[in-house]
Symmetry: C2
Subunit: 189 residues, 2 copies
Amino acid sequence: MRPSKRDELVRRALEIFYRDGFHATGMDSLAAETGISKTTMFKHFRTKDDLILAVLRLRDENFRNWMFRKLEEFDLPPREQLLALFDVLAEWFQEKKFKGCMFIKASAEFQEKTHPAYVQSAEHKRLLHQAFKSIAEKAGARDAGLLARQLLILKEGAIVAAHMSFDPDAAQAAKLAAQVLIDTQIPVK
Amino acid sequence: MRPSKRDELVRRALEIFYRDGFHATGMDSLAAETGISKTTMFKHFRTKDDLILAVLRLRDENFRNWMFRKLEEFDLPPREQLLALFDVLAEWFQEKKFKGCMFIKASAEFQEKTHPAYVQSAEHKRLLHQAFKSIAEKAGARDAGLLARQLLILKEGAIVAAHMSFDPDAAQAAKLAAQVLIDTQIPVK
DNA sequence: TTTAAAATGTACCGATCTGTTCATTAATTC
DNA sequence: GAATTAATGAACAGATCGGTACATTTTAAA
């Protein structure tokens, strides 16, 4: 297996950056914890930023796959899928390793709107909106774009509330709010 | 004026940390941009962390004063005050210097739950919840605690959405959502 | 005007930062 | 088994990190 070392590096770097932050994690400590030599790291990635971008790409892929697979598993009609999103969130929040949204944190550490990490984080959110909008359309929402934006706002807000531990049951509170929004904006057939 | 230098330092450090981030801003560049010598900085604050804490304290004070003063200026009954929150947010988002919520970013850069910066950020959110809950009670909400949590979730979500620029009109979308929540949870007298 | 306090500039400390060099060892491929 | 590729360790570069020492200058109080 040839490209496995690179993949392993990205996987391990993902969990370490997620746990400790981007600026707070040095390449030396990254090498120390992964057991992968610095020389190898810089052979696969020209700069630390390049590694961070690869990590964010992997995170985007992992997260969206995980989330939408979960939603599909419920095997629900679109309307109920929108609500089930918040059950998936609740599950996420309860994980021991839960440390908030990696993209919110990336955009907090790399604030310049032209920074690739910022751009990629914004793109992740755009993809989520797109997906929710599509489900909202299938569910027959009056304004699918608006509903998707509102559900996404509830999602991001719940993540922040849970991460900053001022609201451990944020997912449930957000779900109740989502229920009202959905009932209001999707006419029963 | 004797204690003004210290206050000036905290004020200037606030805007620089807010603009560039905590880890990304060094004490040297802080001295360079403020014109305040490093020696003076370390005479007023033993460590960088101490300065950061002072900055967060000032931000908490400034932000809550600003927000609740704005709300009072409208001179609205409690129910409409809850909604007006999102007009205040919209105004904030439009500022050129808007760069998201400083406490979300602080808790992203200092993730250990025991870190003073994290603790203080969580405390800021707790104080906001307390205040909203009090207004929700006056407005006659069925469950003031829950409604306050939901409005806070909408607020944080809107901030994230606006900051990551995937939803420029996040405040308006959140306001529409809040309207529905309020109508549902506060019985008309 | 004298005296005390506050702020300054500069040079420095040791540690850490990203990134490189290079000779050596391990693993694949032919 | 030989040749090629991948990975390693360790030392190093130059810059920056947070923080200090100290002698000098500015400011404010007496």
